[in-house]
């Protein structure tokens, strides 16, 4: 049955894909597809329930990156089951509800896809059996929450709220990651099973305080605990179904889930009790207090949620096992009543167009059914008997009486708990009285009425649960609560009873006091509101936005400093870094001379080198006359190719030659747009600086080269030499390395090449459109654009060049050549046609979409690589064989040829995409006025 676990996760994914692919489906069909995920999930869970309630644990795992301790592990126990029920159950109702909540203009597929993405992420958290995997899903919930809060992206408050929520939760997530990594290192494994069984060892470790604080940071930010609670009220800019689902029932419980999940491993110390209980207590009180003063219904519910989350956290911080049971119980109850309250708020918002409690009054007359349902749920929130909220609150009260976390001041806790309950009753009363009674509506845009029939159904289900659990707790949730608590504590909890009536005791008294005092407080609220109004409060969101703006400002300043937009600066920075990084190790060596002796001087090569040096120097001297510099650098390239050939690297020589020409053409195309001479502007100090930099580079690089050449390096090349023929089927080792041994690199490189070409193509559109009417010396241009001789000869040369490139392509595997050179030769031959005939002549004859050529090249290379998957081999495993064909003799076929074809097409496409389009650019903007021919 464990095999079913991945399916539970993949069904939401399936629905997402369908929703995004078929956007034109009707709203009902989209809702059905979205509903498929939770329904199927519940059905898949159903057969596992009996075993899970008996304490079984299902686990399924695959290797992912075992080196890093990463494994896909899915683990389902009763605690995860409980949360899965919440996720699926509330998710089901929320999806159904959203069908009626969203207006016709809201893009539904995006909403459902994000919601399902969240569902998937949340399930991932509760079903993870590996803490690193858990963390990934954890971050995914933050991201999907961001997408959902900013769903109405045209609204500024939605964008800001989303940004705030993401910043806080993701920052906490990073702390959590560090904490989890440390935890895994201490426990020796990232597997949950191992970690849970090593509790004492973890607690005894010196790093325990750090681990605990980091993990608590993650949990507290996610679960909106004080002082990180401020993001939650701002997340209320989300559509109400999202608030009901993420920001009350599930996502904000993720932090609490994590605390419960890791309870056996990291809880039970004084540090834990003081940190967790203090955070919980403060959250409980601030949430309850501020909830009363909200005028926005959702704001009230948000602060109330914060308060209840604080309550649960406080329970986890109490040093009794029963407190954990109470916490889990309250998670269920809170999810049920708060989700229904949010749905009520959504209905009210939907039907009145407002969420301001100062405007919406007396709705009882307009929507009695909704009002009754909401009132029941609010009563549950206040802790009225016969409702589920009452039960867990009673448990909470009784636990506060049986703890000693605050030492001698522990008696304060029941008192403060009662105080929080007073406020909780007061804001619940405000919710009921202000919204449904208290006179008539003020200044509403429309006359409210009951919502569509089915919009109420989810609420009805939830309210029924409130009452059901309130009256028959043991029968409805007793089993799962016990099993979940056992799973959480890793041991059977002490006996407790889930009954409605425990007799006249202290907790009951606390409830009564809270109830009466709460009503009194609400009736006398005017004074308190006046008192509260005396505080100058800056909203958290404004503070946050201000900080974001400041941060952006800082970053801008930094990037203006680090990226002044001057090419010289970048190159200088890069070169200095190279000099320092490469030069420092040289200082550690005693001598450059290695164990290899020097070869006798080869005078011919020496002369070539001298020519090359002369040309390089001339390039530098004439750098201001750009065309001259270009000619000189061509000499450098030519000599370099000759030297490559001399030292047995014909492949390099071929490539160097081809690249040389392509670059020369490119540079000339670019030169056209530049002044032919650049003015002499460098100050002497600048020249000196550049000289020092160039000299340092020369010294370091020269020394490194000498070092490398005189040392006997045991490199990988001997392996390549030995295996090229047997492993890759080619005798040209360079080519076999490119298309086979290091095929993945090549694949990456051609992808980069394609992207670069597309990028350049895109950048070209913004280039200034002018055509200089005269050359550097003020001569107007010659008048015959396409000399006849050149045209005729270039037409004749094209087939020859194509033939040569075919030749180079096919023999590349065994002798110098290959797809790259062949591609460049083809591209150069086609560029020659452009040069000789012009764009207008070539365009109708070369009916090729260059970008498509690039894409097909990369695709072919990828398919060649992916083909080996069919045979269960890793990506890009090469294949070759020899065939005997009568008359023709032996022929070799290799998958590398197909891969090389991809390289070829990409190179041709990229080169033409850049050169031909740069050329076309000037044509398109040719000025009207042209000389006489």
């Amino acid at each position: 049955m464990a095999l079913l676990l991945p399916w539970i996760l993949s069904i939401p994914l399936f629905s997402i894909v369908i929703l995004l692919l078929f956007r034109q489906l009707s709203r009902n069909q989209q809702t059905l597809i979205a509903l498929l995920a939770p329904i199927a999930g519940l059905l898949l869970l159903a057969p596992m329930i009996p075993d899970l309630l008996q304490g079984a644990v299902f686990q399924q795992q695959w290797q992912w990156l075992p080196v890093l301790g990463l494994q896909w592990t899915f683990r389902l126990d009763a605690l995860a089951l409980l949360f899965s029920f919440l996720i699926f159950g509330i998710g089901l109702l929320v999806i159904f509800y959203a069908r009626y909540y969203l207006s016709a203009s809201d893009p539904m597929p995006r909403f459902y896809a994000s919601l399902l993405l969240f569902m998937l992420a949340m399930l991932g958290i509760v079903l993870s059996g590996n803490v690193l995997q858990l963390w990934m899903f954890w971050e995914l919930t933050s991201i999907s929450s961001f997408l959902l809060i900013s769903y109405w992206s045209h609204r500024s408050d939605a964008r800001k709220g989303a940004r705030l929520a993401l910043t806080v939760t993701a920052a906490g997530g990073l702390a959590l990651l560090v904490g989890l990594i440390l935890l895994g290192q201490v426990a020796g494994s990232y597997q949950l099973d191992v970690i849970l069984s090593k509790g004492p060892q973890i607690i005894a470790d010196a790093q325990y305080p750090l681990i605990l604080v980091l993990i608590l940071l993650g949990a507290f930010t996610k679960s909106a605990q004080f002082p990180f609670h401020f993001w939650l009220p701002n997340a209320m800019a989300a559509p109400t179904p999202v608030s009901a689902y993420l920001h009350s029932a599930t996502m904000v419980k993720a932090g609490i889930f994590l605390l419960i999940r890791l309870y056996p491993a990291i809880a039970g110390t004084d540090l834990w009790f003081s940190l967790v209980s203090l955070a919980g207590l403060l959250t409980l009180l601030t949430g309850a207090y501020f909830a009363l003063f909200q005028h926005d219904i959702k704001g009230l519910l948000a602060y109330s949620t914060i308060s209840h989350l604080g309550l649960i956290t406080l329970l986890l911080g109490l040093d009794t096992d029963l407190a954990t049971v109470a916490a889990i119980f309250h998670i269920i109850n809170h999810a049920v009543f708060k989700a229904s309250l949010f749905m009520a708020a959504g209905i009210i918002d939907h039907e009145t167009g407002s969420r301001d409690m100062r405007k919406i009054n007396g709705l009882w007359h307009f929507m009695p059914v909704t009002a009754s349902l909401a009132m029941v749920a609010a009563a549950s929130m206040a802790g009225v008997p016969l409702l589920n909220g009452f039960l867990s609150k009673e448990m909470f009260f009784s636990q506060t009486l049986h703890q000693s976390v605050l030492g001698a001041l522990s008696w304060l806790l029941p008192l403060l708990a009662t105080l929080a309950a007073v406020f909780s009753v007061a804001y619940s009363a405000r919710f009921i009285h202000d919204v449904f009674f208290n006179g008539k509506p003020i200044g509403l845009d429309k006359i409210p009425h009951e919502p569509p029939r089915y919009m109420r159904v989810p609420m009805e289900v939830l309210v029924a649960l409130c009452i059901g659990v309130g009256v028959f707790p043991q029968w409805l949730v007793g089993d799962i609560l016990l099993a979940a608590s056992t799973a959480a504590l890793q041991q059977t909890p002490p006996a407790y009873s889930l009954a409605l009536w425990h007799g006249l005791n202290l907790p009951l008294l606390m409830s009564v006091v809270a109830f009466v005092a709460g009503i009194v407080l609400y009736i006398n609220r005017k004074e308190l509101f006046l008192f509260q109004a005396g505080f100058q409060s800056t909203l958290a969101i404004h503070r946050f936005e201000g900080q974001v703006q400041r941060l952006v400002q800082r970053c801008r300043q930094f990037s203006q400093w680090a990226e002044p937009g001057r090419l010289q600066w970048y190159i200088a920075a890069m070169l200095w870094a190279t000099v320092l990084l490469a030069g420092y190790p040289l200082l550690q060596l005693n001598s450059l001379q290695g164990e290899r002796g020097l070869l006798p001087t080869d005078w011919f090569s020496a002369v070539l080198v001298v020519i090359m040096v002369l040309a390089a120097m001339a390039t530098v001297i004439w750098q201001r006359q750009r065309l001259l510099a270009l000619i000189m650098i061509s000499v450098v390239g030519l000599m370099l190719s000759l030297l490559f050939i001399r030292f047995s690297a014909p492949d390099l020589a071929l490539t160097q030659l081809a690249v040389e020409v392509a670059t020369a053409v490119l540079l000339m195309l670019a030169l056209y747009f530049l002044p032919h001479r650049s003015p002499k502007q460098s100050a002497h100090a600048t020249l000196l600086r550049d000289l020092i930099l160039a000299g340092s580079c020369a010294i370091v690089v020269g020394s490194l080269a000498y070092l490398m050449l005189t040392h006997q390096a045991d490199s990988v090349s001997s392996y390549f030499l030995a295996n090229a023929k047997s492993g890759g089927g080619g005798t040209n080792v360079v080519n076999v390395i490119l298309v086979d041994f290091r095929g993945f690199d090549t694949f990456g490189e051609i992808t980069v090449l394609g992207i670069a070409a597309l990028g350049i193509y895109k950048l070209l559109t913004g280039i200034p459109r002018f055509k200089p009417s005269a050359d550097a010396d003020g001569r107007s241009w010659a008048l015959d654009a396409h000399p006849l001789l050149l045209r005729v000869v270039s037409q004749g040369l094209l087939p020859l060049a194509l033939l040569v490139s075919v030749y180079l392509f096919f023999r590349g595997h065994n002798l110098p050549g290959g797809g790259f050179v062949a591609g460049l030769v083809t591209a150069v031959a086609l560029i020659m046609q452009y040069i000789a005939h012009g764009v207008d002549w070539v365009k109708p004859r070369l009916n090729l979409q260059f970008s498509a050529l690039v894409a097909s090249g990369i695709l072919i290379a990828w398919l060649t690589g992916a083909f080996s998957w069919l045979f269960g081999k890793p990506f890009l495993t090469s294949w070759f064989d020899y065939f005997d064909i009568p008359l023709l003799g032996q022929i070799e076929l290799a998958s590398a040829i197909a891969f090389d074809l991809g390289v070829y097409l990409t190179v041709v496409g990229s080169t033409l995409l850049i050169l031909a389009n740069l050329g076309k650019l000037t044509t398109r903007h040719k000025p009207e006025h042209r000389g006489q021919i």
């Binding site: 002369v607 001339a618 030519l638 050939i645 020369a664 020659m832």
Partner: protein
Amino acid sequence: MFSLILLAVMAVIILALCLNIWSLLRGPAVADRLLALDTMYINSIALLLVYGVYASSQLYFEAALLIAMLGFVSTVAVCKFLLRGDIIE
């Protein structure tokens, strides 16, 4: 003896290359330099041909062929640039 002659022939061609770089640096006009560059291309081909005989290997002829082809394109492109400014128009 034969290989000595080959070496001597290569030396003569390299001498030609040296004369070319001299012409190239001397100029005076861009056209002169371009002519010198083109001659360098051709002389490099010559060098490769002799080197092929010297090494008894046909491996170098492709490079020579490619120099002939690509050198031509690059010289023509520079000419076009000097004549028209816009080499692809």
